[in-house]
């Protein structure tokens, strides 16, 4: 799979402050790429470099194997975290203006806007002013404006903030649909459950450096500790716990079940397999729960940030 976007060792300083230090990322075509990191890590600066808002001190960016040029702005749709619209302008006029700034023909822009407004059921807003709309409503319009010119690369910075769950779902489905239609999505957020749900690749930026990147599943495989979450019913739970502790690395676990099982995490060493453990356990009692502990994006995020 080829990469739509490649960032090659980009550095950016603001006076004494280093915002990005030698950061490289590759975003595969057709992927949803999660750009993660704590507040102030440098995500926004990186996104601005990709949008040619900020010029990097060093390094370069390739879009579709070409160095970034000013005409590339029409290939990118950007929804910034700090976003707004002209308060006293009408919705339709404003959307048309922004679409034309992205190089669209007025007539074409109008046609597509009508279509999008129908799809998101906001058709009757055309002649309203932004100041008459709620925050969530304005966000919907911003989303439409971002994707209207059908760019190859979509960059969303915290796209779901300000949306109620229903509209957040609506937007999520639209993002997935756009991906299926061939767009590549960069997605910056702090909400790990949406990373889990949407992203297939991630990069983690911390204190101006990239500390982790790759396919989310591969990363999870690297981060898994060969630990299993187990629920087992026996005649004497205390005895069984003692026995397990003598054989394995055991720690208490908590999850909800119907019965009164012994609940533990068992960490296996390199040469033990899950099957070995399971067959051993079946001799000790009734196994009601047996799950491999897969690290969540949240765990990986916290662990990586703490270790650095």
């Amino acid at each position: 799979m080829s990469n739509l976007l490649e960032v090659h060792s980009v550095s950016k300083k603001f006076g004494e402050f280093t915002a990005l230090n030698n950061v490289s990322i590759s975003v595969p075509k057709g992927s949803i790429f999660g750009l993660l990191g704590p507040n102030g890590a440098g995500k926004t600066t990186l996104i601005r470099v990709i949008n040619q808002i900020t010029m990097p001190d060093q390094g370069h960016v390739l879009l579709d194997s070409e160095p970034l040029q000013s005409y590339h702005v029409k290939d990118i749709g950007y929804l910034p975290e700090e976003r707004g619209l002209y308060k006293s302008m009408k919705v339709g006029e404003q959307a048309l203006y922004l679409a034309q700034l992205k190089g669209m023909e007025k007539r074409e822009a109008k046609k597509r806007l009508k279509m999008w407004f129908e799809r998101l059921e906001i058709g009757d807003w055309w002649n309203k002013k932004i100041q008459e709309l709620s925050k969530g409503m304005a966000q919907k319009i911003q989303f439409v404006v971002t994707v209207l010119h059908e760019p190859k690369l979509l960059i969303f910075d915290e796209p779901f903030s300000g949306f109620d769950p229903i509209n957040a779902n609506l937007i999520k489905d639209e993002i997935l649909r756009l991906r299926d239609e061939g767009a590549t999505v960069i997605f910056s957020t702090h909400r790990m459950e949406s990373v889990e749900e949407l992203c297939d690749h991630i990069a983690l930026i911390h204190k101006s450096n990239k500390v982790l990147d790759g396919n989310l599943m591969d990363i999870k495989r690297n981060y898994k500790t060969n630990t299993y979450e187990i629920g087992i019913e026996s005649l004497n739970n205390t005895n069984l716990e003692q026995e397990l502790k003598s054989k394995f690395q055991v720690s208490p676990a908590e999850f909800k079940t119907l019965g009164d099982e012994l609940k533990v995490h068992i960490k296996l060493s390199q040469n033990e397999t899950a099957n070995d453990l399971l067959s051993y356990l079946t001799t000790k009692g009734q196994v009601s729960h047996f799950v491999e502990v897969v690290p969540s994006a949240n765990d990986i995020f916290i662990q990586t940030v703490k270790n650095n």
Binding site: F14, G15, R48, N51, Q52, I53, S70, Y71, V73, I76, Y78, L79, P80, E82, R83, G84, L85, Y86, K87, S88, M89, Y97, L98, Q100, L101, K102, G103, Q142, V145
Partner: protein
């Protein structure tokens, strides 16, 4: 890609369609004319009030010269003491009492003349009384010295020095007056334009910052393009507004003066006495108008118009780019004060230099120097040009101005580019300089 026309169009249309703008544009000439009419009306009312002045002339020399006029009626008191006269005048509620003692030496007559009144009297009335007495006493004095006043009057010679340049251009005092008027109008117009529409640009930049739309826009267009679009769009708005004001203003003045019968031309000289005096001094009206027209066509009109356009545009762009930079540097209007000072100061200096020095000596050292310094040159040079400035001077000054204008646009664009993405605390001057290197 060039989105400049699109940006200009949006700036222009949103501002012109704005309700506040429409109200301002159509209401302010109405308010102005309304105010002027009220003032004119009040002055007329004041004029038509009749003043009663009593005269107690113990010398008997001057009492016959006080003839009633439309606004001032005189009562001559005789055979009573000053104390009684004061009491009578006060009781009648007269405006005041002019008291003339016996005069021994005409040269020292001032000591013997006094005006009594309830409040401090109108200055024009006192002056007019003084002039009347002075004239009469001078006449008497001449007679005493055996001089015939007729002879003095007929022997008077009036001089109006005709002026001509070495190259043969004839000018006159009226010419100079006309030049001053044109220079001052051009200079002030630019000054007003910069202040009003520079502020409008600044507010429009701040609006984009506070509504947070700025990042969306600059992911599509270059900040410099956006800035120039704003400046040009707002200037067009300004020109539109000015043209409407001029047209509306002229129409309203005509209408108002027709309805109320107020002679606007005479408003500057409210007191009848002054008008009378003025009429004596000058020739007749037709002759004056003729002189003015001549003076007008004597002006270097082509040069004036071209220079006005060039200096106006470059001067305006120079300042408005700075206004845009200020707007980008701050988050809200209250923070702009600190940065406004350095912009306003040279402007005010230019207007002062123009208003005093240029009128006094249009080609003196001070005027010449200030017409070259780029921040003052647009205003000062525009004021100098009606007096005839060599083309090389105009050219050099314009070149300097355009050079500086490019530098400030570059500087403003740098500040703008960084500033529009900065939120939070108000930057210091040192931080602004650091931004230039980002």
């Amino acid at each position: 890609m060039n989105y400049l026309p699109l940006i200009i169009k949006r700036e222009y249309l949103t501002k012109v369609k704005n309700k506040a703008f429409i109200i301002m544009t159509f209401l302010s000439p109405l308010i102005m004319i309304g105010l002027i009419s009220v003032v004119a009306y009040l002055i007329q009312m004041n004029n038509s009030k009749v003043r009663q002045v009593s005269v107690l002339d113990e010398s008997g020399l001057v009492q016959h010269i006080f003839k009633d006029t439309e606004n001032t009626k005189y009562t001559i008191l005789e055979g009573i003491t000053l104390e009684n006269a004061k009491a009578v005048v006060k009781e009648k509620g007269d405006y005041g009492l002019l008291h003339v003692l016996k005069i021994d030496k005409l040269n020292e007559a001032s000591k013997n003349i006094r005006f009594y009144s309830e409040d401090s009297p109108s200055l024009t009335l006192i002056n007019s009384l003084g002039n009347k007495i002075e004239k009469e006493l001078t006449n008497i004095n001449m007679h005493r010295m055996n001089v015939d006043p007729e002879v003095i009057e007929t022997s008077k010679i009036s001089i109006d020095i005709a002026q001509e340049s070495f190259s043969g251009k004839k000018t006159s005092k009226v010419d100079s007056g006309t030049k001053i008027i044109f220079g001052v109008i051009a200079g002030y117009l630019l000054f007003m334009f910069i202040i009003i529409y520079g502020n409008m640009i600044m507010r429009s930049v701040i609006e984009e910052k506070t509504s947070r739309i700025i990042e969306v826009i600059i992911s599509s267009v270059k900040p410099v393009q956006l800035m120039l679009g704003k400046i040009i769009g707002t200037s067009l708005v300004g020109i539109t507004q000015f043209v409407i004001w001029i047209i509306l203003g002229s129409v309203l003045i005509v209408v108002v003066s027709l309805i109320f019968g107020i002679d606007i031309a005479q408003m500057g000289m409210p007191q009848q006495e002054i008008i009378e005096q003025a009429m004596q001094g000058s020739g007749n009206d037709v002759e004056k108008a003729q002189q003015f027209m001549n003076a007008f066509f004597n002006l270097p009109l082509t040069n004036l118009i071209i220079a006005f356009i060039l200096f106006f545009i470059s001067g305006y762009l120079l300042y408005s780019s700075l206004y845009a930079a200020i707007g980008a540097a701050v988050d809200n209007e209250t923070d702009t004060q600190q940065f406004m000072m350095p912009i306003i100061l040279p402007l005010i200096l230019a207007v002062y230099v123009g208003g005093f020095t240029v009128i006094e000596d249009p080609h003196g050292t001070v005027s010449t120097i200030f017409s070259f310094i780029p921040f003052t040159s647009p205003v000062v040079m525009l004021m100098r040009i009606p007096f005839g400035v060599p083309l090389w001077q105009q050219g050099l000054s314009l070149l300097l101005l355009i050079g500086t204008f490019m530098a400030t646009v570059w500087f403003a664009a740098k500040i703008y580019r960084v500033g529009i993405l900065m939120y939070g605390k108000k930057p210091t001057y040192r931080e602004l300089i650091k931004w230039l290197k980002y």
